[in-house]
């Protein structure tokens, strides 16, 4: 590690963010920005292009010392991974779920825990989990006891431990109705409802393999759920409205037209009070409800309380383990929005998860299981009605059609 540290220092030691400990040690000066920022001379005192702080300064000693020397690891209980180094050092990593949407109150509590047990260091995972690092069994036990006792006023855990191994780990998700302008569904509320229901699978290792659930609240998929074991996706089902009286003021009409991948938006001229006005018309038969027009043009809203809801896609994966990464496939085209607890969605996901859990082999991901038993059997076992909506009719659709006489008899063919 010392070689790596010195190399990093040599390469980036001059960067502002290489060591910010002095900056952090100073108390926050609420007045400073007001003194430095001059709206009349906006470039005055402006620091730009410094990039993120360098990562090394935040790592605990055991991580720095054993950088590149880790030898093996063992999950000693759900949520706790013991890493062993070639140097003989060990590091216990304790993983806890979070709702991703967190306040400064919560962040300060994380800082408290980090200071109490972890030399003030803490990290987040890609899936919105927090990881605390300790180096002794005693510290580990005290940390776990401490985390278990921390609860919100309503009784929910602040730091549920789990998310390792053959579990349902934290759901990665988007903003939903908390903060976004294009969503078809909420994100945080749906995630809370689903994770409450699947909580037993977060803190245990009883599934055949890890199950990655992700939620994106519209087709833009800023949460990129397209390669998840189970994807919860917000969908619209009504074509965009067109605000004729506003569109030229807020949109570039050619951009709105070009935004439609199916060419369903055409320019139009209408007459309002004897004055000709440029606008657009939508060929509603052609609309696939992607919402790209609304992204480009605020005068074409799609959101609708009755139209919007959830589609469930399953069987995707990222890892290259055994089989290649896979896309998630659409198996339930629509479930209505049911705030605040989305019971139909919660039920549908549990059914898929438990059917998979009962039928899959050890190490088999959900998509690998579905492919092994056949999608006809997947629909049969999960008791999901198969509809034309699960048959692709977009680009490259043909690649998904069966062109063989090899298929299985299932409930779909039993009446023939």
């Amino acid at each position: 590690m010392s070689d790596f540290i010195s190399q990093q220092k040599e390469l980036y030691g001059e960067n502002v963010g290489f060591d910010i400990s002095e900056l952090l040690a100073k108390p926050y000066d609420k007045e400073l920005a007001g003194k430095l920022y001059n709206p009349l001379k906006p470039m005055e005192n402006r620091i730009t292009d410094i990039g993120p702080p360098h990562f090394l300064q935040f790592m605990p000693e055991v991580i720095k010392k054993n950088y590149g020397k880790w030898k093996t690891h063992e999950i000693i209980q759900p949520g706790v991974i013991k890493y062993t180094s070639e140097t003989g050092d060990v590091c216990f990593s304790v993983r806890t779920g979070t709702p991703r949407l967190i306040t400064t109150d919560f962040l300060r509590e994380v800082a408290d825990i980090a200071e109490k047990f972890c030399e003030g260091s803490v990290r987040w995972t890609t899936r919105n989990n927090i990881e605390f690092h300790v180096t002794s069994e005693d510290a580990l036990r005290s940390l776990l006891d401490d985390l278990k006792a921390r609860k919100h006023p309503g009784g929910s855990l602040k730091f549920p431990v789990g998310g390792t191994g053959a579990s349902v780990t934290n759901i990665v998700h988007t903003q939903g109705w908390v903060h976004c302008h294009t969503p078809a569904i909420d994100a945080s509320g749906v995630v809370k409802a689903v994770m409450d229901d699947l909580y037993e699978y977060f803190g245990s290792h009883k599934l055949p393999a890890q199950v990655r659930i992700a939620l994106a609240c519209c087709l833009n998929m800023c949460g990129a759920v397209h390669c998840s074991d189970i994807a919860i996706l917000g969908v619209h089902r009504k074509p965009p409205l067109v605000e004729d009286d506003r569109i030229t003021g807020v949109c570039e009409i050619p951009l709105a037209i070009a935004a439609c991948p199916l060419g369903a938006i055409k320019p139009a001229t209408i007459e309002v009070d004897g004055v000709k006005k440029k606008t657009v018309r939508v060929n509603e038969e052609r609309c696939m409800f992607c919402g790209n027009c609304y992204t480009m043009c605020p005068a074409m809203p799609l959101a609708d309380g009755q139209g919007d809801g959830i589609a469930i896609l399953v069987g995707g994966k990222i890892s290259n383990r055994i089989s290649a990464p896979k896309f998630s496939k659409l198996v339930i085209p629509y479930i209505p929005n049911e705030p605040p607890r989305w019971p139909s969605t919660v039920k549908a996901i549990r059914k898929i998860l438990e059917t998979y859990s009962a039928g899959a082999n050890k190490y088999e991901r959900l998509g690998e299981w579905a492919e092994r038993i056949g999608w006809e059997r997947f629909f049969e076992k999960c008791e999901i009605p198969f509809t034309e909506k699960s048959i692709d009719d977009y680009r490259l659709a043909y690649d998904t059609y069966h062109t063989t006489t090899q298929f299985k008899w299932s409930v779909h063919t039993d009446n023939l």
């Binding site: 402006r46 949407l101 400064t104 929910s156």
Partner: protein, 428 residues
């Protein structure tokens, strides 16, 4: 305690129940400790639960001087009901690589955000930034000055920029990493600051760095340029540990399946038979691997981490073009460079990046992702631009149609022909 007004939120309150951490409780408590924005956000969320529609307006261009990204404009469409969140702009702050923090860092960020914003955050946004959720237009410059002057932090990417690069934990805490993922992520972020802050691309561009083919940051699904660690030499084997797994002394898959009885560990069934290339076998009680046939899927290493480790002749596989469905459908990254060394200053890799960015900026249409550009032209065009040699590793199988775009130079005698000469041989 500050004077704050709590709205009636019976549906949101339902989400205080149950074991999973309640964002409603956290946000409400922060509100009751003096942040009206938190209570107004919950009030507006309650209204969305009632209407089943969002109440956030479409964008609006806001930002800090000299940058074209990092801030996303957001306004309430019911500001009269929830005035403290009438403006509710998001600020993306570039996270340190692989998201380690000190408590001092978190505390100072909290002080800034309590003073100048809503007190709500996302740790983290989907791309990896720390997200400061909700502030007013007049606070954007002060937040930026506070971040740069008092924390040594900078904004992340948004819009048609390079988005904030991200990486897995790498060698810091993982024995499988074939790359210094943090170092690569940090270097690329610093090298391309201009591209990150000032929109010059047709659309967003993402780098993600995973240390091994397990791909913990989803590089292959989520990045325009996926950098994934791999190795060229042999998997390292500790035969005594293999025997320990077979004897049941070490739990398979690091104990990942401990809460269910899957029976005694069977190396034949659980490792050798599941190997996708069938390149492993037992020779007596010795595990053998034909490494030339291995495709480095990680399964055997995942199952027996104490016995098997990736080789030591390491580098990266580079794949390009992943994206979510909008617009032409979801794509995963396509293999471009099977193996490249990733050592500072990463010149060879950066030359590759320059070539593909040059092509994309020249030819890309507005809001066309890099993966879509390749689809619209062709892989062949991409290979030419990137000066890469076609190799069979780039395809699952050769094409099944015969529509080859031959060029005149490739065909003997070229394409210039004389119809009169043709007709001398063939009557019309």
């Amino acid at each position: 305690m500050a004077d704050v007004k709590k709205h009636d939120t019976p549906m949101c309150d339902e989400l205080k129940k149950g074991p999973w951490p309640s964002f409603v409780d956290d946000v409400e408590q922060r509100g009751l400790h003096g942040k009206q924005e938190c209570l107004d956000m919950l009030g507006q969320l309650e209204l969305s639960y009632k209407h089943k529609e969002t109440h956030w307006k479409h964008g609006g261009i806001v930002g800090v001087f000299g940058y074209g990204g990092g801030v996303i404009g957001r306004y309430s469409d019911v500001p009269e009901l929830f005035p403290s969140v009438a403006h509710f702009h998001t600020i993306r702050v570039n996270q340190p690589a692989s998201k380690f923090y000190s408590s001092a860092f978190l505390r100072k960020l909290c002080e800034i955000w309590d003073h100048r914003g809503s007190g709500m955050t996302n740790f983290h946004g989907s791309t990896g930034d720390m997200v400061l959720l909700g502030t007013k237009s007049d606070q954007l410059e002060p937040v930026f000055f506070d971040l740069t002057h008092q924390m040594g932090c900078d904004l992340g990417g948004s819009g048609s920029n390079l988005r904030t690069p991200s990486c897995c934990i790498g060698k810091a805490r993982c024995e499988w990493s074939c790359l210094d993922t943090q170092a690569i992520c940090y270097d690329l972020t610093q090298t391309f600051q201009d591209e990150l802050h000032r929109p010059a691309f047709p659309y967003k561009f993402k780098f993600k760095v995973s240390g091994c083919p397990n791909d913990c940051v989803a590089a292959i699904a989520r990045s325009c340029c996926s950098i994934i660690g791999t190795w060229k030499d042999d998997i390292r084997i500790d035969q005594s540990a293999v025997k320990a797994y077979m004897g049941g002394e070490i739990k398979p898959n690091a104990g990942a399946h401990g809460d269910r009885d899957w029976g005694k560990f069977d190396i034949q069934k659980e490792v050798i038979d599941l190997c996708p290339t069938k390149c492993m076998w037992m020779d007596g009680d010795t595990l053998k691997i034909d490494n030339r046939e291995c495709t480095r899927c990680m399964h055997c290493i995942n199952v027996m981490p104490a016995a098997l480790r990736p080789g030591t002749d390491v580098g990266a596989t580079i794949l390009v073009g992943a994206k979510a469905p909008i617009l032409e459908g979801a794509q995963m990254s396509t293999l471009a460079i099977p193996f490249i060394r990733m050592e500072p200053p990463y010149d060879e890799f950066k030359e590759f990046v320059d070539k593909i960015w040059g092509w994309w900026m020249e030819e890309g249409k507005n809001r066309e992702r890099f993966g879509e550009l390749i689809q619209r032209f062709s892989i062949q065009k991409f290979l030419k631009v990137a000066e890469l040699k076609p190799i069979p590793q780039m395809v699952k199988e050769p094409r099944s149609n015969p529509y080859v775009f031959w060029s005149a130079e490739e065909v003997e005698g070229g394409w210039k022909r004389d119809i009169a000469e043709f007709r001398k041989r063939h009557a019309a």
